[in-house]
Symmetry: C2
Subunit: 467 residues, 2 copies
């Protein structure tokens, strides 16, 4: 395709800007037919050839498409448009998918203090090998058949039992197994929201919530987070101003801040949810890292408007993919149907391996060990970073994340870009921030900071980073 | 909730009907605010209390929701609405999800001639056990880490190699691994279509395509199918009339008809796709059952507008969940991002087990065996059904499906309902038909018909079915 590289002349550029604005505002959604050449020319008082040139340039850019004999249309596809719609405030190099891409595709040699999971050698590899061998021997193992629509009953029972030990009474019939915690959140969003619905998130929040909600074309509204939960004045103001349909948050040690929801705020949010017809999605993926259970949004008086999400990716394996969601019974049937329509069924064999690790206690024993290791790693990381001039926003009680303020004048995105050149994967604050208010912050994973090369590399990076 | 059971009085019923029609036509989409009580009363010349009663009854039905102090809103959630929007023509008991639900959740005792997959004991259980043990021993096995965004390179390489033996030259870098073939189709739909876009499907087609497209709110347009592909006159007429964005079909032995696309029709569809800016999704999930490769929509001159989907669910295991999609390079990046946003990453361990089964040739050897068994089962099933008065629409060259006409006067939906009472799972024609034109048809799976109890049970069922 010949993309004209010379700048467009004034009138042509004007038409192009007009079209781009309509598309950006979604007044002209993907697939909409553009005004005819003649109509556009008349409306803007330009010649038809000016409009032809503007449309051709926009088509070359991929913003619109020509259909032979049928005019010009706003280009799909939906997804890249929705995901790329990041707005002018955000550095395109550091969008919410940036951390995912770097984490998933960087080589094993890279140091990853910005990564969102534990190092491979912290994971229960021997227990997994043993469970694989046991399942391979088990004559009743679900080796080839489709799993039931809600997932393997044995694993749903184990999950209910485990949540019981954490004080959450859940009936296994209210648990739907999914292929990941993210997929559970995605299913709930498909089920609950319409394009244009407002959704509240914490600012900062898990960056993939932002990418996911953009794929759903939600109106994302960030509420500043504090060490004991959202800023409640801002939360209430956002309810009044935006009438959101959902509040999507993560319980347990908060990602990225390590904050801990207080019981008073949890109660207040439940009461507000009731009054404002707000649905709460509580992503509890880090809950098993808590030494002392914090408050949860889910409680007996809120079951009808809270859905909870969990997964084994952080404590057991992200390669044995399995998540789950807990929701009221009348939603669960529809969610199971939606899941069948969109992925058919779950991974029975994976579910059987995990059920075995829960049944024989190997997983529970391992998570206790993880909590102990993290409790030692946290103060070590605080000392290491403190020596480099980074100050924690809050000292988390547990979990793997430490949210830090960078030395004055250092921009997180720039530091992360420079780090990448040197095989150092960092998580700059603004990928977590809907308001792009965290340019001076950075998330660290305390479990990924034991490599002896790290302190020097980080020190050099900070010293040489342009301010 | 108190649902008023007495019939609504005339004026109230009139208002309710008016609201329901607006909602059904999506003039008032989920989340839209209903007119105020006063405005509605004025507009329809009724009292405010009549509108109050109508709204209350609609809220009790779940069609609308009250927000305290803020009026009434069209109820979400999206999904159950979209999936339940089946229209008056279709028997709600036998919707496109009916077969899925019955197949996934019926006990192992049930006879399943209507099921869409091979019996458990036709599957390579021993080879899977062996591969599990090998992976458990392999020091380099991806036991705990997240898989790369496109999926495990070893499996992508094996898939490209296998497709090469079938005459399809595919670069492993153009393959994205997913958790199922269905998920691959779903991702493509999320990427390519907008609510309201027209999508062509075969009539009859795989029933889950209908459920999936409804979840996307596509306008589904069925094109009658023939033994060598779609009816081309109707296909072209549909292109002109509906300007569809996509044609979603399945290659190889067609589900449910066992039809085989001719090379001439494949060429014609490619040419039309080019002229009408149509994108083709070719679900090739049954391709490995072909003894003699049939034509495909994907060809060297159409790579830019064809996406292909495959999976191992039918030939290897549906419990080791893994599908894949092949698409042009510039789509693949965006599809991988969309997948990261919505499910994060794939099941690395499952991918490693499958890669091993492909690498050592166990899977290839097993699929050869399956083709031989199916070639023997097909004529057996035709004889068995013929003796009961069922005639094949077409005698398929390969695959597991046989599309049959029922004896005169027998309705497939009714027969399937009666069958279920007797532990017999059947697949009535209309779940496959967008036009609901297949009430006299039924899909049989020849691999599921060797149980000696089947002939008598089926004979009794047909004899006693009311005509």
């Amino acid at each position: 395709m010949d993309i004209p590289l010379s700048p467009a002349p004034g009138r042509t550029a004007g038409i192009m800007r007009f079209v781009r604005q309509r598309i950006a505002a979604r007044e002209w959604p993907p697939g909409a037919r553009l005004p005819s050449l003649r109509a556009m020319a008349q409306q803007h008082g330009v010649s038809k050839s000016t409009v032809v040139e503007a449309y051709d340039r926009l088509a070359a850019e991929g913003a619109i498409r020509a259909r032979p004999g049928a005019g010009f249309y706003v280009a799909g596809p939906l997804a890249p448009l929705a995901l790329a719609e990041i707005g002018p405030r955000l550095d395109r190099q550091i969008d919410p998918l940036w951390v995912s891409r770097q984490s998933l595709d960087l080589g094993a040699q890279a140091l990853k203090p910005g990564c969102g999971w534990l190092p491979d050698d912290w994971m229960p590899r021997d227990a997994i090998r043993r469970a694989l061998r046991q399942v391979a021997r088990d004559p009743a193992a679900p080796l080839t058949d489709y799993a039931p629509a809600l997932g393997l009953p044995a694993l749903r029972t184990q999950i209910a039992r485990h949540l019981g030990t954490r004080g959450l009474a859940v009936d296994p019939r209210h648990i739907l197994l999914t292929d990941s915690g993210t997929q559970a959140v995605d299913l709930l969003c498909r089920f609950l929201i319409e394009p244009g619905d407002a959704v509240l998130v914490d600012d900062p929040c898990y960056f993939n919530f932002l990418a996911l909600l953009r794929a759903h074309r939600a109106r994302i509204v960030g509420v500043p987070h504090t060490p004991d939960g959202p800023d409640m004045d801002r939360f209430e103001a956002a309810l009044r101003e935006h009438r959101p349909r959902l509040y999507l948050s993560n319980a347990g040690p908060h990602n990225p801040t390590g904050a801990r929801l207080s019981a008073a705020k949890a109660r207040r949010i439940r009461a507000l949810a009731h009054d404002h017809d707000l649905i709460l999605i509580e992503d509890d993926i880090f809950g098993d890292f808590e030494s002392r259970p914090a408050a949860r949004l889910a409680a007996d008086d809120s079951r009808d408007r809270v859905a909870q999400v969990g997964s084994f990716s952080k404590t057991l394996s992200a390669s044995l993919r399995c998540g789950y969601l807990i929701a009221r019974e009348d939603w669960l049937d529809a969610l199971a149907d939606l899941r069948t329509a969109t992925t058919f069924s779950g991974a029975g064999l994976t579910q059987a391996v995990i059920a075995r690790l829960l049944r024989d206690g190997a997983w529970q024993q391992h998570t206790r060990l993880l909590r102990q290791r993290l409790a030692l790693a946290m103060p070590r990381a605080i000392r290491l970073l403190g020596a480099l001039g980074l100050r924690p926003w809050h000292e988390p009680e547990d979990g793997m994340f430490l949210w830090c303020r960078l030395p004055d004048g250092i921009d997180g995105a720039r530091l992360a870009q420079a780090g990448l050149q040197q095989g150092l994967m960092l998580a700059p604050g603004n990928v977590f921030s809907q308001a792009q208010a965290a340019g001076a912050m950075m998330r660290f994973n305390v479990s990924q900071m034991d490599d002896p090369r790290l302190p020097d590399r980080l020190a050099t990076l900070i010293r040489t980073c342009p301010r």
